[in-house]
């Protein structure tokens, strides 16, 4: 059993969070930069002392246990392979530290290098490896230590985009039965690697749930951003969500949503139509100011601001050609009612 129960605070960094990870489960921690995700990993690994609270792993109270007796291997953005050792020696380091014999440690290291797809690089020194290869060796090294809990701090953030898909697949395989916490900024990482998502903002847990649910019905602006959805909060007036600047109707929400209760409307940027002036007096039109224009594959992404509410639209280049896309100019965004999902927002 290696269930993690985290309930601790680090006052100087304004972090105060409570979360659990079930045995064999992988949880993704997502949240804006500086939200406290890495601090939480640091507390679990024993590298940051909590000012109050406890950390328990597999029923064992870790709060005062030094890092090397916690069995919580940490994998960071930077592979940090020991530069004076070969790949094999790096991976054998954890087993050796556990007191395994040299021969057994080396054979375990070979097995893990093979598992992570770099078995043929065993005798290479870190400076002879590419970034992706080095990170694979680092994954093998972390797993070879046989941690009860694996901590991954944005393990693919420093890698070339060309090599991340393959490494993501490798992680998906090796994390299958491993209790793990992964800090990520990527919805795909969360979907493919994690069973559950915990959203952290300003040091607090603001949202948690199964990955698919959180990405489909985010309840925090950050989760919506990760999921790539527009996220508009307002009040449910019985027919639509009202905000100071506009009104959004959508698919009928759950009947339990009371009139006057805080509610959220989410819709995909691809469902937004953009015109120079109101085409018709239809509902769900939002007058907004263009704040940013950027290319996005075969689409153009427009970031706009309606009052204080950001609305993102992704339109075809042919459509964009008919618009005045000067920053600061006004456009009218409209979205079909059938494209808008409305649900309650717990306060």
């Amino acid at each position: 059993m290696s269930r993690l129960e985290f309930d601790a605070a680090v006052a100087p960094r304004s972090v105060e969070a409570q979360l659990t990870v079930a045995d064999g489960e992988t949880v993704a921690l997502i949240g804006p930069n500086g939200a406290g995700k890495s601090t939480i990993l640091g507390v679990v690994a024993g590298l940051v002392a909590p000012t109050s609270g406890t950390v328990r792993l597999g029923g064992r109270d870790l709060t005062t246990v030094p890092p090397h007796r916690r069995q919580t291997a940490l994998l960071a953005q930077d592979p940090l392979l020991f530069p004076h050792m070969t790949a094999l020696e790096n991976v054998a380091f954890g087993p050796t530290a556990r007191g395994v014999s040299r021969a057994a440690a080396r054979s375990a290291a070979r097995r893990w290098l093979h598992e992570t797809g770099v078995g043929d690089l065993a005798e290479h020194k870190p400076h002879q490896l590419s970034g992706g290869q080095a990170q694979r060796v680092a994954v093998a090294r972390a797993l070879a230590a046989e941690p009860q809990l694996l901590l991954l701090d944005e393990p693919m953030a420093a890698l070339d985009v060309a090599v991340t898909p393959a490494l993501r697949q490798t992680l998906r395989t090796v994390l299958a039965d491993q209790t793990a916490v992964i800090v990520t900024h990527d919805a795909l990482d969360a979907l493919l690697l994690a069973d559950r998502v915990v959203v952290i903002d300003e040091g607090r847990v603001v949202e948690t749930g199964p990955t698919a649910d959180v990405l489909a019905r985010p309840r925090s602006p950050f989760a919506a951003r990760i999921a790539g959805l527009n996220f508009v909060t307002g009040q449910w007036d019985g027919d639509a969500v009202t905000t100071p600047s506009f009104v959004l109707a959508g698919k009928p929400p759950d009947p339990s949503l009371r009139v006057g209760a805080p509610a959220v409307a989410v819709f995909s940027p691809g469902a937004v139509r953009v015109d120079q002036s109101p085409a018709s007096a239809s509902t769900n039109t939002i007058t907004a100011t263009i704040t940013d224009v950027e290319p996005l594959g075969d689409r153009v992404r427009l970031r706009t601001l309606a009052g204080t509410v950001p609305v993102v639209a992704e339109i075809r280049p042919t459509q964009a050609a008919n618009l005045d896309l000067t920053l600061g100019s006004q456009v009218v965004c409209s979205v079909d009612e059938t494209e808008v999902t409305i649900y309650d927002l717990p306060s």
């Binding site: 590298l47 890092p67 090397h68 940490l74 930077d78 020991f82 380091f93 954890g94 230590a145």
Partner: protein, 266 residues
């Protein structure tokens, strides 16, 4: 990396800069040339193999090796504590530990004498235990260690700070005890700094004169090291002094040459 080095060396130095640089180089090299030119080559073998000369050379190599070993045993832990821990008054402790770098060696010798000499701070205690340190080979080693230790501490501490603690952190989360981290990660990472510190400490020990003659005296075979022997011979037998100086220069060049195998060590 390669794209950077392609542009290296394209921005020249101002031409006038080469003049003081050449003067400086000449200033360092000319005295060596002058000394070598005074060596009486036919007598060289006899001079450097005289009993006094061999005694001094042997004593110098022996004491410098022992004091370098002592510097390692004491200096590496000192550097580790200074680089990796925080305690009140640490800055003052660091300054005091490095003091022998800046105080005149003869003052160091006096300080040692008033600590370990017969009438020194610890002298009486040592006397009761039947240990007499001053004016012995042990005193030579102590004088050399005293002045050479800061060189080792400063090199290793700098290397530790540059290396940072990131690798050590990873090693700890992989289950390595502090002892294993120090042995298998910290020490190998600071290898070049450790080697350069060791070479500097050995060279400083080999050249030690002022503290040694003050604290240990100049008895042939026991406390008269090569620099002291050279100093003593320089009036009575200048040829012998020059010949021994040549030996010291050759040993020093050999030490630096050995260390120079690893580039950037010194």
């Amino acid at each position: 990396m390669s794209s950077q080095s392609a542009f290296e060396g394209r921005v020249g130095l101002p031409r006038w800069l080469f003049v003081p640089a050449a003067v400086g180089a000449a200033f360092v090299l000319l005295p060596l040339v002058a000394m070598v030119s005074r060596v009486s080559w036919p007598q060289l073998t006899t001079l450097v193999t005289s009993e006094a000369a061999l005694d001094a050379l042997w004593l110098s190599l022996r004491t410098s090796t022992v004091s370098t070993a002592l510097c390692l045993v004491l200096g590496v832990p000192m550097a580790a504590v200074l680089a990796r821990t925080q305690f009140p008054g640490q800055g003052i402790v660091r300054s005091l530990v490095l003091l022998p770098l800046v105080i005149p060696p003869v003052v160091s010798g006096l300080a040692l004498l008033y600590t370990f000499g017969r009438r020194g701070l610890l002298g009486h205690t040592l006397d009761v235990l039947g240990i007499q340190v001053a004016f012995s080979s042990a005193a030579v080693v102590m004088a050399q260690t005293f002045v050479a230790l800061p060189f080792l501490v400063i090199s290793v501490e700098g290397a530790l700070r540059t290396a940072g603690q990131r690798y050590e952190t990873v090693a700890a989360t992989l289950g390595a005890s502090p002892g294993m981290v120090f042995r298998r990660v910290t020490l190998p990472l600071v290898g070049p700094g450790l080697l350069s510190g060791t070479v500097l400490a050995f060279a400083r020990s080999l050249g030690e004169f002022g503290a040694t003659i003050t604290f240990a005296g100049s008895m042939q075979g026991r406390t008269s090291t090569l620099p002291i022997q050279i100093y003593l011979e320089r009036v009575a037998d200048p040829d012998a002094a020059v010949a021994l100086s040549l030996v010291l220069v050759v040993v020093a060049v050999a030490v630096i040459g050995f260390a120079g195998h690893r580039r950037g060590v010194l």
